[in-house]
């Protein structure tokens, strides 16, 4: 039982990172933009939150937790939305290819983040690695009143940092937005068939810009959660965020472009990813084979949806295609 509890806990923390990433990317992809820059955007969000709180914590004696959280959130959102803006400007206004631009954004984001993550402290005149203990503590605080229990139910569901629940809330809100609001339906129309949406009066450019920038902002929260909660306010140049970013892209497929499925899908990915740790008798080599699971499962889902051809499970029709009104 304790084995399962700790597996589940690891899966939830892991899953929250990719849940943010994938919900943001879902919104972007629903507008028809296939942004392969998610890892880069998560990197940007991570480093911006870290840098913002680093400078704040270093400039005052007693950092106030609320300000710590606010600064980190705003910095992460702005930096990752800026990444989305670069992508939008290049692909929508300058009509560059989406795949290539996205991959460039990933290279750029990982470069920026690992560069500053590795040398921010040195540049600021400090010694050793960067660490933002106060902000991290503020992010890892549980929900007031309900968290802190010691029963199995509390341990399984209630004792996480508050951002875990924000992720679920954002997933639910995004699902509601996409399927129950006029703007959300318009957004999907833009992603399915931009020419028709344009004819119906939707401003394709505006929808795509906004969806990409806001989607990127949400994805960036995954990076923030990773540095503040997962690694407790420190930085390591080990490329984990990039792997998690690609998993977030995988999760978008797994959820068949529905944010509500990301809630359980993300935790399932977490369980699949950590399963090797709890299976007895694995050698170090065979553990690596187990870590393939999330990707293999995603490939299977991808194949299944193309085999079954259920219309509501398909990727948005216009995904990855640029729209120019003049081109017919």
């Amino acid at each position: 039982m304790t084995g399962f509890v700790s597996l589940f806990q690891a899966a939830v923390v892991f899953g929250t990172v990719i849940m943010f990433g994938s919900v943001g990317e879902t919104i972007t992809e629903r507008s028809g933009n296939l942004n392969l820059g998610v890892p880069g955007i998560m990197y940007l969000g991570a480093i911006a939150s870290l840098a913002g709180s680093f400078f704040y914590e270093n400039s005052v004696e007693n950092p106030s937790p609320i300000l710590c959280v606010l600064i980190a959130l705003v910095a992460a959102f702005l930096a990752s939305a800026l990444g989305g803006l670069i992508f939008s400007f290049l692909t929508i206004t300058l009509r560059a290819n989406q795949n290539v631009t996205g991959l460039t954004l990933t290279i750029f984001g990982s470069g920026v983040a690992n560069f500053f993550g590795g040398s921010l402290n040195t540049l600021a005149g400090g010694v050793g690695q960067i660490s933002v203990a106060s902000t991290s503590a503020a992010f890892r605080a549980g929900l007031p009143l309900i968290s802190g229990g010691s029963g199995v139910f509390s341990q399984l569901f209630l004792n996480y940092g508050w951002m875990t629940y924000v992720a679920i809330l954002i997933a639910i809100l995004s699902q509601w937005f996409l399927s129950h609001t006029r703007t959300g339906l318009n957004l999907r129309a833009v992603g399915e068939n931009p020419a028709t949406a344009d004819a119906a009066g939707a401003n394709v450019t505006a929808y795509r810009y906004l969806a990409t920038c806001i989607g990127a902002g949400i994805s960036g929260m995954g990076g923030l959660f990773y540095v503040m909660d997962y690694t407790k306010g420190t930085w390591a140049n080990d490329g984990t965020i990039e792997n998690l970013g690609w998993l977030a892209v995988a999760l978008v497929i797994f959820t068949t472009w529905r944010p509500k499925n990301a809630i359980w899908g993300a935790y399932l990915f977490g369980i699949l990813y950590w399963a090797y740790f709890y299976i007895m008798g694995l050698t170090r080599a065979s553990q690596e084979i187990f870590k393939m699971l999330p990707y293999v499962v995603t490939i299977i889902v991808l194949i299944m949806i193309s085999l079954r051809k259920k219309r509501e499970n398909q990727p948005p029709e216009g995904l990855g295609l640029a729209y120019f009104r003049e081109d017919r």
Binding site: L90, R95, N99, F108, G111, T298, G320
Partner: protein, 370 residues
Amino acid sequence: MDNAAAVAKKKEPLVRITRRESMKTYKSVGIRLIAVLLSLIVSAFLIYSITKVNPLKVYVSMWNGAFGTARRSWVTIRDVMMLLCIAVGLAPAFKMKFWNIGAEGQILVGGIATAACMIYLKSLPPWLLFICMLASSLLAGAIWGLLPAVFKAKWNTNETLFTLMMNYVAIQLTSFFVAKWENPYGSNTVGVINQTGREGWFPSIFGQEYMLNVILVMVLTVGMFVYLKYSKQGYEIAVIGDSQNTARYAGISVRKVVIRTMLISGAICGLSGFLAVSGASHTISTSTAGGKGFTAIIVAWLAKFNTFTMIAISLLIVFLEKGAIEIASQYNLNDYVSSMITGIILFFILGSEFFINYKLIFRSREGGAR
């Protein structure tokens, strides 16, 4: 000007965008050069704001980092060849509009196959071992490319996402073999394979360690150029890339060509894994591909599938990487600065394509469109 014209003029947007029919070569090259120059200026500002060092000095030390000594020049050339090889492999797939994002994985499985030959077949005579490594790396890469192609051809499974996932399956597979072959035990690296006997290492030609890499990749570059431009199969690829319906109408079997092209594409990417393991690092790790599979996508795309243009772009990117690593070590920064600069330069080049393909028409003062 009558009233209607005035209204029409008011409604006319300030800038209109139209597609250019064609552009003179010197102009398009000029635009790209301006883009590179602009990006270097932006990067220079960035470097200055971080290091407070004269950016010109920085670029001089970048040059030294890439070409400062004969040894460095050869390492630069070796890495250019590696990147070029992958880009050449990707060219046919992209020309067909098949988004093979999976080069990273195809390189790794090619590398695993090569390393396996080096470890298990080292008693073979050198020429036979060489053929085994070559064949197995080609085969491994081809299989990795074949899987997504079959599903794309038969059920129209999204190849961008499929090949992307295959990368991570390959990375885990590499980790598996690294753990299996680790040497010394507990180091979690394979170490240099066959350090003493050098079995399976590329031989020196004309006294140059990396000459064989150059020869192999140059043959591929020329071959791929001819294949795409002058062969019937290359023509079929071009037709499918432009319009699948046209291809079907012309009696081309789209399925067959998709599968055949991805076999070629995957095989060449697998071969670059052979170059990386046998011709360069003599070891295998998850960083054997090290993001080159992704960078090569950008190289292939920017070169518009012209394999000779790819040489120039690969050279630019590798030069920047080497240069940035040199700056990093001189000024005590970490070498991720190279990814940052590469990213900025690629953003500018991507953006500049717009000015080559499209024309901006400003609203004229006299009223009415020109």
